[in-house]
């Protein structure tokens, strides 16, 4: 970085006004007897973006806090931050190289879609059971393992769809079985604190599954073959393929953005399944029943829905979604029994950012986390450290979300169940 002092000074200035804004704005709104629910977020963003110039009018006028206002302030903060960064480090690739930025963004979005899809399972489980499943990463790992064994070891000739289906069926059954055997005490008051019980018991499951797979399969990295090869495309013409150029394992758009085949397939698959899932939740009886239970357990029970069965379905379905994400990525990454830990942490970040229980929030959160990780890896000046911090970027997002807006971007307040509070 060329002018680190300038950058840190700017960051310090933003942080000072951000913290002051978040505390004082809340105090001002409280004092005037107004709704304080979003004051922290707005105050900090307004403070960080404009300093006293925006904060003082805010405190004087205390307008009603609208989503538009928050978005405006947040974009302002981002803008100020990026400007400060660009001025402090004018030689950075993120500042000088447009195609580099474009490829980082596209990378972030694509991997973010896959992350978001995995987190979707977690959010589904949470919205029905009120449990954060700590075994989510292990279902992801098992999904990949099963697919690998089906497509590469046992039946190398069959279509990969069979392997993916096998992974889904197996994890669905495993999820349902686990829910029946271990989660039922949560619902009828047999355990004192169901939320904590849920965390601990899924934690135990994660531990058991991970080492069980390691003990039986071993710890050598494995990988499935690419599910399909790109057809050879040269658009608009073979001589000057400025629009799309593909090889078997790669696709290049506009001669700048390159997308690898396994990620592309995985992202497309995730979007398709997401659409199917939305259809299922909105237009089938079971899906509606699931949503009803997530909104109001007791009312749903009165309406003739058996919440217990919905619990089982939700856990099994959520775990299956994680497994599906794993099944799609086993062609992109080398697979080990420990492979689930990092995606699981990332899923936690995404669901908190998107709002625990919010399905569109999970997708949005996934893309944002994907972008933040891409920005961190791509833009931090010291190449020795940029990638070392990858696990921390998401966690910083998590921390900020919990401090500024614990309900997340699209979170809602829950009406019933054990998850009424945060």
């Amino acid at each position: 970085m060329e002018f680190p002092v300038f950058f840190w000074a700017a960051l310090g200035w933003m942080m000072f006004w951000g913290v002051l804004g978040s505390i004082a704005t809340r105090y001002v709104y409280l004092h005037k007897d107004l709704d304080t629910s979003s004051t922290r977020l707005l105050g900090s963003m307004m403070g960080a973006a404009t300093g006293p110039i925006g904060l003082v009018p805010l405190w004087i006028k205390t307008p009603e806090i609208t989503t538009r206002l928050i978005i405006f302030a947040t974009l302002g903060t981002l803008g100020v931050f990026m400007t400060a960064f660009a001025l402090a480090d004018p030689g950075n690739l993120c500042v000088t190289n447009g195609s580099f930025v474009a490829s980082q963004i596209s990378n972030g979005v694509i991997i973010g879609i896959i992350y978001g899809f995995m987190a979707l399972g977690l959010t589904l489980i949470f919205s029905i059971l009120g449990v954060v499943s700590f075994a989510h990463g292990e279902f992801y790992m098992i999904g990949g393992m099963v697919t690998y064994f089906m497509t590469t070891v046992l039946f190398p000739e069959v279509t990969p769809i069979v392997g993916i289906a096998a992974a889904c069926i197996l994890t669905f059954m495993l999820g349902a079985l686990f829910e029946r055997l271990f989660l039922t005490p949560m619902y009828d008051g047999r355990v004192d604190r169901p939320v904590e019980y849920g965390i601990l018991i899924t934690f135990g499951l994660a531990f058991t599954l991970q080492y069980f797979v390691q003990a039986t399969v071993g710890a050598n990295p494995v990988k499935a073959k690419r599910f399909f090869d790109f057809p050879r495309l040269r658009l608009p013409s073979a001589e000057d393929p400025w629009l799309i150029k593909t090889s078997r394992g790669n696709m290049e758009l506009f001669e700048t953005i390159s997308i690898s085949n396994p990620r592309f397939t995985a992202a497309v698959m995730c979007i398709l399944v997401f659409i199917a899932l939305m259809y299922f939740l909105r237009h089938t009886w079971t899906g509606k029943a699931l949503r009803a239970v997530s909104q109001d357990r007791q009312a749903a029970a009165i309406a003739g829905i058996n919440p217990d069965r919905m619990n089982m379905l939700a856990f099994a379905l959520g775990s299956m979604i994680a497994a599906l994400a794993g099944a799609m990525l086993v062609q992109a990454f080398s697979w080990l029994p420990q492979v689930g830990a990092i995606p699981a942490l990332r899923s936690f970040v995404i669901v908190v950012l998107g709002g625990l229980g919010s399905i569109p929030g999970a997708f949005l959160g996934g893309i944002i986390v994907g972008l933040v990780e891409a920005a961190g890896t791509g833009c931090i000046p010291d190449p020795q450290k940029a990638a070392s911090y990858i696990p921390a970027y998401g966690m910083i997002v998590l921390t900020l979300t919990l401090l500024l807006r614990p309900t997340g971007l699209l979170g809602r307040k829950f009406a019933s169940g054990t998850h009424g509070k945060f």
Binding site: F182, V191, I201, L205
Partner: protein
């Protein structure tokens, strides 16, 4: 004999047994068994302080290993970078303090050419043994580590005030993970994955009971860790029996109700974080000096899950049980390493033992959520009121 006193007496007997064990045991594997016990005590401190935090106060934090790491890294960095010399080196960053000079070493990370970069070693070469360099006292490092744990505990305690249950768990997990990533990325200062080395707990040896112990002997660290455990258990017991324990439990049951009844929830919530973090940090600092190396791998989630599992299997709402559970399980984990053969099949227990451990954790949670040891203690303690309580409970549970 009053049945009610049996747990206390068993406890006293156990303390006595642990206190005389190093003197009566003399088999070949003495250092190894001592090592397991010291490690067991270390986990016992973590598990019992975590059970205070999670079981008593209901704050399911996954950042406990992070606080342990803060304690360990504080003392590690303190003893690694600071020295006192009577004359200036003119090579390092240094400040005069009285008639001594405080030397601050340059952070050089891990390279193959450490010798040519370390300013103090260069100065020592120049002095050629004529100057005595004093390292920082180990106890001061441990005290600083404990304090630093308390400061971070205060900070985290304040930050998590509005968070409950799952959100709290995720936030503390995030804290721990950020810490781990930072330690492993800032190689220049922390030496990253290579781990940072520390001096012995008793670098000059120590004379105990009229016997001179060498710095590598296991007995002094055994008692140091044992007394730290006893001190922590003592503080926890005292806290649990005082007003503090009552309020903290009220926090767990219903925070809003407790606040409405006039309990200063903010103060107690933060206080319980500070106290338990300090215990974790103290244990970490002492353990780091005993093992003499600390690396970011101690902060991984697996390590945290060990502590959680130990506390749960022992009894998450009872810190003595949690401590005992930790000692027993540490022993079990080491013992189960031995592979065995069933006919021609060799079962490699290295991994299977962890599967066993996980299953044990799940079964305990499912069928004996209070842990495996607590029901036994309860049986004696509440034997006489048992029927009555059960009747009450049954009445409560029937809608």
């Amino acid at each position: 004999m009053n049945k009610k006193n049996i747990p206390q007496m068993a406890g006293a007997a156990l303390i006595a047994a642990f206190a005389i064990f190093p003197f009566v045991y003399s088999a070949n594997d003495y250092p190894y068994i001592m090592h397991i016990l010291i490690t067991g005590f270390f986990y016992a401190i973590l598990a019992s302080s975590w059970s205070m935090l999670a079981g008593y106060a209901g704050q399911f934090s996954f950042g406990h290993m992070g606080f342990m790491g803060i304690g360990a890294y504080t003392t590690a960095l303190f003893s690694h970078y600071l020295y006192l010399t009577p004359v200036p080196t003119n090579l390092c960053t240094e400040f005069p303090i009285g008639d001594m000079y405080l030397i601050i070493l340059d952070p050089i990370g891990i390279t193959s050419s450490t010798l040519t970069q370390d300013c103090l070693r260069q100065a020592l070469d120049i002095w050629d043994g004529s100057v005595q360099v004093t390292p920082m006292p180990v106890w001061l490092g441990i005290a600083l580590g404990t304090m630093m744990g308390g400061i971070f505990g205060l900070l985290i305690g304040l930050l998590v005030l509005p968070l409950r249950a799952a959100y709290l768990a995720l936030f503390t997990l995030g804290f721990s993970e950020i810490l781990r990533a930072t330690v492993s990325a800032e190689i220049a200062v922390t030496r990253g994955q290579a781990g940072i080395e520390l001096p012995y707990l008793f670098d000059n040896g120590i004379t105990l009971f009229g016997h001179q112990f060498d710095k590598t002997d296991k007995l002094p660290p055994y008692f140091a860790m044992f007394f730290l455990l006893l001190a922590c258990l003592g503080i926890l017991t005292w806290l649990a029996k005082s007003k503090f324990g009552l309020f903290v439990r009220a926090l767990r049951e219903d925070e809003d109700a407790a606040a409405a009844l006039g309990v200063n929830t903010v103060r107690y919530k933060v206080l319980v974080f500070v106290i338990t973090s300090m215990m974790a940090a103290a244990a970490g600092a002492m353990m780091a000096h005993y093992i003499r190396i600390i690396s970011p791998n101690n902060l991984i989630i697996l390590q945290m899950s060990l502590v959680v599992a130990m506390a749960v299997i022992g009894g998450v709402e009872h810190f003595v049980a949690a401590a005992l559970g930790a000692i027993l399980l540490e022993y079990m984990l080491e013992y189960l390493r031995n592979s065995f053969e069933i006919g021609p099949i060799v079962v490699d227990m290295t991994t299977w033992r962890l599967v066993v451990f996980g299953i044990l954790l799940m079964l305990t949670l499912r069928f004996s959520p209070k842990g495996l040891l607590v029901p036994m203690i309860d049986y004696f303690k509440r034997g006489h009121v048992r029927k009555e309580t059960m009747a009450k409970r049954n009445a409560e549970n029937t809608p």
